[in-house]
Amino acid sequence: MTTQPVLEKETLKGAGANYLSRVKAGDIGSLPAVLGLVSLIAVFGAMSEYFLTNRNFANLITQAAPVMVIAMGLVFVLLLGEIDLSAGYASGVCGAVLVLLVTNHGWSWYSALGASIVIGALLGTLIGTLVSRLGIPSFVVTLAAFLAFQGVLLLLAGEGGTIPIADKTILAVENSNLTPTQGWILWAVTSALYVVGGLNRINSRRRAGLVVELTQLWAMKTVALLIITGGAVFELNQERGLSATNSTKGVPIVAPLILVILVAGTFLLSKTAFGRHIYAVGGNAEAARRAGINVKRVRTIAFVLCSSLAAVAGMLFASRMNSISPSTGGSSTLLYAVGAAVIGGVSLFGGKGRMRDAILGGLVVAVIDNGMGLLGYGAGIQFLVTGAVLLVSAGVDAVSRRGALTN
């Protein structure tokens, strides 16, 4: 006797109840980050009149961009239950390579950027090999790399300390904007692809006779997402220049770059066998090994991806500061990036998290940084608050994990 797969007639109410029970069972996803972001924006918006302006909004994006990119790279490593403490200084080293090649050796921006990403990949290969083949804990390997890369950056930057960069393309990434029309085209094309992709998935599941996600719910989520992103594009397209002669408007160029990394990373993690294997190794490495997955290879590649994305972040630092200094990627960068991923919902225990968590968490960290700065609090208080937020989100992660285990 065979049973037909029951096409469950879901209702919105049922979906809501489902979600609630998932949250209770410890599967909270990005809920804390979303709530945190909304309340932070409300508080800072009420306390500072400058916080909710277009200019600050654009500033927030460019400010958050490098940390978000490092955090997206860290997602791969954190999903394995590992850590990469050296990602911050890896971005500094790769940024220095980029700037040196352009400024001192006259390379074009694209070959220099390519070279710096290759260097990043090599650093990642070294770390990944030490962790996966020799079995040294990633905490120790990357702590050593953290110190070593700091030294390399000092040597590259030399005594004077700062290497400037004047390449127009590199500088444009963090300092220029798309024209309003380009911004709307970008929004329309991405939205269309998103909607078509979603409808395709629903249709192919329906054809195969599988349980289909509630279309109503999907439509509501999609419309909400389109309104939020459309609203952001609209706001960014308003004039925010300081003087009439210096017109500034449009979506910062770094936004589509982050979008590309987000889409590529999400595709890799959720649509390919390699992505599935990352989750498997993070969930139960022994099970993955017995299933025939090359665990060492997966580990190594995760570190390569992390350091390569750090190299991209190095380019963003160079663009934002117009230079590279011995402290680029140092100080709080790495902890902000780890914080961004964890606040967004990536589990430090491995096996749980998504690419977009890094974006969401990156926004939370940037909002705290930016808002506290506007309110006139010094770096001391900012570090204290960011540290507390990181601790709270790691605590939420641990508690929700315990909730899931005891169920």
Binding site: T3, S204, L210, E286, R290
Partner: protein
């Protein structure tokens, strides 16, 4: 008895000075449940690891479907159609049932995973085993009960048109009702024509589902007998002393 599908002859395996398996013979028949019993340290795990390709025996022959074969790694075992369901299940808690069933052998459409075809096939396999206890096959394994997890692990093993399924203490951690479910599933596997090897400490379970019983005693095969030819007490004697009145090897 019919001809065995998998036949081990004179298997020896040592770890340093410890001679764990001594000239062990074992026959596994299609459509039958062969119970492998023995006290702790008798060599049951080592023996199945030799079948799984995790250990390579020092001497002895492995004959599969009439052909002499060497199983020199897990992949070689899989290629022959031998699947092992380990005691600690080897499932990833954070992945859903479909992902776990296809772990390491995902179906692809170009570079992307073919989720719909994997989900359909997983559904079909579970239905074929008459598994109705699982509500959604897209729930993560962490939300399943012990019996359901065991079911998923077994379903994964039969997904690949496997011919021999080795189950390492599948009911060890289960309650009464769930044990019953899993034992029924084990019986159905054999009734579908698979050769099933069942490792268990529980003689009730064994007498309920097994067709023949192989008892290991201190690394030697004390005897492989038909269930109908022995009593519980004789099996206990085989396990604890290595011999029993009236049981011929």
């Amino acid at each position: 008895m019919s001809t065995p599908l998998l036949s081990l002859k004179g298997i020896n395996k040592s770890f340093g000075p410890v001679h764990v398996l001594k000239d062990v013979d074992l026959d596994v028949y299609p459509g039958q449940v062969t119970a492998l019993v023995g006290d702790n340290g008798a060599g049951k795990s080592t023996l199945i690891k030799c079948i799984a390709g995790i250990y390579t025996p020092e001497s002895g022959e492995v004959i599969f479907a009439g052909q002499k074969v060497t199983i020199d790694g897990p992949r070689a075992a899989t290629a022959l159609g031998i699947e092992i369901v380990y005691q600690d299940l080897a499932l990833c808690d954070n992945l859903d049932i479909v992902h776990n069933m296809f772990l390491g052998r995902e179906e692809k459409k170009g570079v992307t995973l073919n989720e719909t075809s994997m989900e359909s096939l997983a559904r079909k396999t579970l239905d074929g085993l008459n598994v109705r206890t699982v509500k959604s096959i897209r729930q993560t394994v962490s939300s399943l009960s012990g019996g359901q997890r065991q079911t998923v692990a077994i379903a994964r093993a039969v997904l690949w048109n496997s011919k021999v399924v080795v189950l390492d203490e599948p009911t060890a951690a289960l309650g009464v009702a769930q044990t019953e479910q899993v034992l029924n599933l084990v019986r159905r596997l054999a009734d579908k024509g698979l050769a099933v090897v069942l490792i268990s400490h529980n003689l009730n379970d064994i007498f309920q589902v097994a067709d023949n019983i192989a008892a290991l005693y201190l690394g030697k095969m004390a005897g492989q007998v038909k269930k109908s030819d022995v009593t519980t007490n004789q099996v206990i004697e085989l396990i604890t002393t290595g011999k029993s009145e009236g049981v011929t090897k």
